[in-house]
Amino acid sequence: MARVLVIDDDSGLLQMVKLMLERAGHQSILAEGGEAGIKAALTQAPDLAIIDLMMPGISGYDVTRQLRANSITARLPILILTARSQPMDKQMALNVGATAFMSKPVSSQELTGRIAELLNGTLPSPIPATVPPAVDPASSPTANSMGKPTTPNSTPPPTSFAQTSGRRLPIGADIAQMPPGATPTAAAPPALKLPNKPLPVTAVLSLRNGGGGTTVAINLAFLLRRTFDRISLIDLSTFGGNIGSYLHLPLRASWADLLTLGDTLDARAISAALTAHPQQGIGVLGSPSTPPSRSLSADATVSLLTTLAMGFQQIVVDINTLTPASIATLLVAHSVLCVVGDDLAAVQANSSLAQTLQSVGVNPQQVRIIVNRSRLEVGMSTAAISSALGLPIAAELPYDVNQLQAVRRGVPTVVMASESAFALALQQLSRTFVTA
C-alpha cells in the first residue's frame, strides 16, 4: 500500500481518484489546490503525488517546481494528470520535474497501472539520497568531513573520562525509565551492531530538565540548515518532549509510532513519521505525549539513525534520559554535546557525567561539555564547573534575552536573532565541533 497525494482543484475529481486508489489498496491524501498540495507533500510524506496542471493560484507546473526544489520532496515521484494533453504539455511537465504524464480522460486501470509502475520503478526510498549543492559553498564542509570525529583546535578532547567512582548515576527519575534493575551498560545489548564509522549525528545530551538541551538541539539544527539542505531533528525524550511546542509545530508522529516495526525500520515508515518544518524543511521526529510501554530498542535506534543518515546530511538528537535508544545514539554519534547549566543543582546533577558516559561505552574523544548560561543571574564560573565535573569545558553559550521571545514565537533564536551573542556562540561551537 502506498500513500498517494492527489492535488487538484476539483473536489469531485479528488473523491473519484480517492475511490480508485482505495480500490487499488492505496491510501490517499487529498489536497484541493496547489498551496494545500505543497503543504501536504512536505508534511505528510507521500510515496507519490498526482498533480493537475490547471489549478487557480499555483499551477501544477509551479507545484512540481517547488516540490523538486525542496529536499524533502526532491525525489518524490510526480505523475501529472491533466486535461491538457498535447505533446508540449508533456514536455513542459517533464522539464519542470514531473516523473510521468497522463492526460484525461484516463481509466482506473490505466491510472493504477501507472502508479504501480512509478512505485515499483522509481521509488527506492522516500528519503532523499542525493546531496544537492550546499547553500553556501564557502562554508560547506566536504563530504569527507561528515561522520569523522571532530577534533577542535582550541580545546583538546579528553582521552579518558575522569573517574568519579562510588557515586550514583545522577539521573534520578530518568533511571526509572529503564527496565527494573538495569544499568545503563546493560541497557545497550552486547550484540548491538554499530556502523563502521560514526554517523553524521550530533547527540545533544542534557541530563537535567531545564538545562537547555532542547534549546541547543533546536538551534543547532536550524543553524546547520544554513549550510546543509537536509537536516533531521529527533526528540528522544521518553515522553512529553518540547521540540514541537518550541517550534509551534504539530508533530504527526513520534518515535513511539516506530515501536511496532521491530528492530529493522523501513525507510518509508521513518519518512512517514517525520514532520517537515514548513519554512526550513527540517525533518522532525517527536517524542510521545504519554509514556509508551517501552523504549525504542538500541537496534531499532541504530536502524533509524542509519536510515536517516542515507538521506539527511546532519541529524541532531535531543537526549535527556538514558534509555537503550539514547545510549545507542551516543554510541553512533560523531559528536556528543553535553549541555550543563551553570547553577549548582545542574552541576551536581551532572557530577557523574563522565562515569556515566564511560560506563555505556561512549568514546570520550567525541564528547564536549557545553555550559549553557540560560539565566540572567551570574552562575558558577567555567573553572568551577569544570572542576566539579572533572572535565574540560569546550564552549559556553551566553544568556540571551531573545530566547524567551523565540520560544513565544516558535522561531529559534538563531533564526530570529541571528547576530545575537547566543547565535554567534552556537555558530562557533557548530563550526568547531559539529561540521569541522
Binding site: D10, G12, L13, M16, V17, L19, M20, M54, P56, S59, Y61, L81, A83, R84, S85, Q86, P87, M88, D89, Q91, M92, S103, K104, P105, V106, S107, S108, L111
Partner: protein, 179 residues
C-alpha cells in the same frame, strides 16, 4: 460511478485555438454535443469555464487564468477535443447509426495553421455539401493534427478538431486515400 477520470460531469474539456492564443477550458454541454453548441446560431459566444490562456507560440506557458470567459465563436479557428466521439454532432450520430460513413484524408489551411485529419462522408453528406451548403459553422475533422505554421514543432492533436468553416482558406480532400 464512471470508471474514467475526465472533466466534470456534463462538461467537456477543449482547446480553443486561433492564430494568437491557445485557450483551454471546459464547456457545459447542457445535454448537447459541443459541436452543436458551437453551431447554435442563436448565440454569438460560447461560455468557457476554468479558462487557462497561453500564447500560441508558447502553448505550454500559462499567461492568465480565469474562472469563466466568453469566446466569440466566429473568431475561434478551431477547437481540439480529446476523443473522436467528442466531435460528433447529434445528426452525425444518427447518420452513423444508419449509414456507413467513409473516412477521407483532408488537408486544410487556416490563418496560422495547417490541419491534417479525416472527414467522414456518406451518400447524404459530400464535401460540397459540407463546405458550401451546410449552415454549420464548425465541421469535424477526426484524428486530426493542427500545426502552427510559424512554429511547425508546435502541434495540437485530438480525437477530433472542429474547424471553423468560415476561416478555412484551403480545404483539400484525398478521396483516393480513403480508410
Amino acid at each position: 460511478m464512471t470508471d474514467k477520470i475526465s472533466s466534470r460531469k456534463g462538461y467537456i474539456a477543449a482547446e480553443f485555438l486561433n492564430s494568437t492564443h491557445r485557450i483551454s477550458g471546459e464547456v457545459n454541454l447542457r445535454n448537447q454535443p459541443l459541436v452543436d453548441t458551437l453551431n447554435d446560431t442563436i448565440s454569438t459566444f460560447v461560455t468557457g469555464e476554468n479558462i487557462y490562456i497561453s500564447p500560441i507560440e508558447e502553448p505550454a506557458t500559462f499567461i492568465a487564468q480565469y474562472p469563466t470567459g466568453k469566446l466569440r465563436k466566429e473568431t475561434i479557428s478551431m477547437v481540439v477535443v480529446p476523443r473522436e466521439e467528442d466531435g460528433l454532432a447529434r445528426h452525425t450520430i444518427y447518420h452513423n447509426a444508419t449509414t456507413q460513413p467513409i473516412t477521407y484524408n483532408i488537408f486544410a489551411v487556416l490563418p496560422g495553421f495547417e490541419v491534417h485529419g479525416g472527414v467522414r462522408l456518406t451518400a447524404m453528406l459530400d464535401v460540397d455539401n459540407m463546405l458550401m451548403q451546410s449552415i454549420d459553422r464548425f465541421i469535424t475533422i477526426y484524428r486530426a493534427t493542427a500545426t502552427v505554421v510559424n512554429r511547425p514543432e508546435v502541434q495540437f492533436s485530438g480525437g477530433a478538431i472542429l474547424l471553423n468553416r468560415q476561416q478555412v482558406t484551403l480545404f483539400c480532400i484525398d478521396k483516393a486515400a480513403s480508410t
